[in-house]
């Protein structure tokens, strides 16, 4: 498994470097900067959004990078067990998801708001649901059409940001007793989504491995 992990690390090098930079900046901002005077904040906010997007979509990014010059054909002709390839992908995705949680956690230290916690739960749940769907297709098609499959990620993740994160920021401090469905959407739904995400991710872990062994790699 370590060889697959190493290969994914090689392809994730820049994502990991930027993640480390953003975490350090988040911590430095939380510890050293006066939030009122920090002109750095808009940049830092944007950097956090981008790095969370990159981390949660890293598995797709690695596949897309591997298809440049069709080098996946070279890598898959090396001594590779297909099931192990998928297994390492799942483990690596969990690793990257934990990193995204760490980024959001350090970001919440800067902005100190409990709503970021719910945002983190929702993003993690949606991220696991998307990954489950992606791997169901990937196991059948391998590297064919990986670029198209990235749309699978962008659409629901975009929806989460627009119709969950943004309303949550706007409704912060609002009297939700007037609009009770928002109470459910903002503070209960994330737990359901996370539970569904974990469940489908666990189920597709087994089905994807079985399917991958039956499919053409190229």
């Amino acid at each position: 498994m370590d060889k697959h992990f190493y290969l994914k690390l090689v392809y994730s090098k820049w994502t990991l470097i930027f993640t480390a930079i953003v975490i350090v900046l988040n911590l430095a901002s939380a510890l050293l900067l006066d939030p009122g005077t920090a002109g750095l904040m808009p940049v830092l906010n944007l950097a956090n959004v981008f790095i969370v997007l990159y981390l949660t979509a890293n598995y797709m990014n690695v596949h897309v990078l591997m298809t440049y010059n069709k080098s996946h054909e070279f890598f898959m002709a090396l001594p590779v067990n297909k099931k192990e390839f998928i297994r390492t992908d799942y483990i690596f995705h969990i690793f990257m998801t934990l990193l995204s949680i760490l980024v959001i956690f350090t970001f919440s230290l800067v902005h100190d708001g409990f709503h970021h916690l719910f945002g983190m739960i929702m993003i993690t749940g949606v991220n696991l649901l998307i990954a489950s769907l992606y791997y169901t297709f990937f196991a059948a098609e391998w590297f064919k059409n990986v670029n198209i499959m990235v749309a699978l990620y962008l659409v629901p993740m975009g929806f989460t940001f627009m119709f969950y994160y943004m309303p949550m920021l706007n409704l912060l401090g609002a009297d939700l007793s007037m609009i009770p469905q928002w109470e459910f959407i903002l503070y209960t739904l994330p737990y359901f989504v996370l539970a569904a995400g974990i469940l489908t991710f666990a189920v597709t872990y087994f089905t994807a491995q079985r399917q991958a062994a039956r499919s053409d790699v190229i």
């Binding site: 060889k3 010059n69 070279f74 001594p79």
Partner: protein, 287 residues
């Protein structure tokens, strides 16, 4: 013992079909795989390397039928060269070497370095800056550096300069001193096979045309030249791939002795080259 065995293997890819391929490639020999572009040579190699799954039939490598289950162990014993390079363009030799060390159980780093120097491959340059020949040499260096027992080479000489082509053929012949080594060599430069191949496999339009020992094959078939006047229905039945010109006809035949008895000095029989055999057999199919 067989290195590669295919039994009734079929595979459909779009409109192309590889049909009921039965093959048994013995260990310790160089087998040439010939056929036109699009005949199915690369598809066959992809099936052997487990990159594609057959729709029907059975593939075994080194006698092991559980190719999917033991894919990792089996591919450790196989060196491959693809017709087109598939290297990650932004990498360099040292970076790729680190990856190869992890992937191959028996990766021989000093041997790899030896071939890198011998083939004059630029180590610090990114692969995107390599020439086509240089990429092919790198492929060969990898294939020769993990103590593989089977080399699967897909058009390895097509982008090489003549000098290096000869060097490569010599290297392959040296490798064959190890009696466990097996080489499957796909090429359309059939002259390469004239000098090194023990067996020849020809496929055409996804079908196996023949799989025979090269010397017996070239003994069996002869090129026949003669005047057009002797061509009647009976004679034409004995000939394959007849090509008529203003000065006579040219064809091949595995009944050349009968033809010599029939027509004596009216016809001329000559030794065939592999490309001529391929050409006439293809023509004989009426394509």
């Amino acid at each position: 013992m067989t290195a590669i065995q295919l039994k009734n293997v079929s595979k459909t890819q779009g409109t192309f079909k590889l049909k009921n391929i039965d093959l048994s490639i013995e260990r310790g020999f160089i087998t040439g795989l010939i056929g036109e572009n699009g005949a199915g040579k690369t598809s066959l190699i992809h099936l052997i390397l487990g990159l594609k799954k057959p729709d029907a039939g059975d593939i075994s490598l080194f006698g092991d039928h559980a190719v999917e289950a033991h894919r990792e162990a089996l591919l450790n014993r196989i060196g491959f060269v693809f017709a087109e390079d598939r290297f990650p363009e932004k990498m360099t030799v040292p970076q790729l070497k680190k990856i190869l060390k992890r992937f191959y159980e028996d990766f021989n780093a000093p041997q790899f370095d030896h071939y890198i120097r011998k083939f004059k491959i630029r180590e610090k340059q990114k692969f995107k800056d390599y020439s086509t020949g240089e990429r092919m040499k790198l492929s060969l260096a990898i294939a020769l550096s993990h103590n593989a027992e089977l080399l699967v080479l897909d058009e390895p000489t097509s982008n090489l300069d003549p000098n290096f082509r000869i060097d490569l053929l010599e290297i392959l012949q040296e490798l064959m001193e190890d009696e466990n080594m097996t080489i499957l060599f796909s090429t359309h430069i059939t002259s390469d096979l004239d000098s090194i191949a023990d067996y020849i496999i020809m496929i055409d339009e996804g079908e196996l045309v023949f799989h025979e020992e090269k010397d017996l094959l070239l003994e069996k078939y002869r090129k026949i030249k003669g005047p057009v006047e002797i061509l009647d229905a009976q004679t034409e039945d004995l000939l394959t791939g007849i090509k008529k010109t203003t000065v006579g006809f040219e064809a091949i035949s595995d009944e050349h002795r009968a033809l010599e008895e029939l027509y004596g000095s009216k016809i001329l029989t000559e030794q065939l080259r592999i490309d001529e055999l391929m050409h006439h057999l293809k023509k004989g199919k009426g394509v």
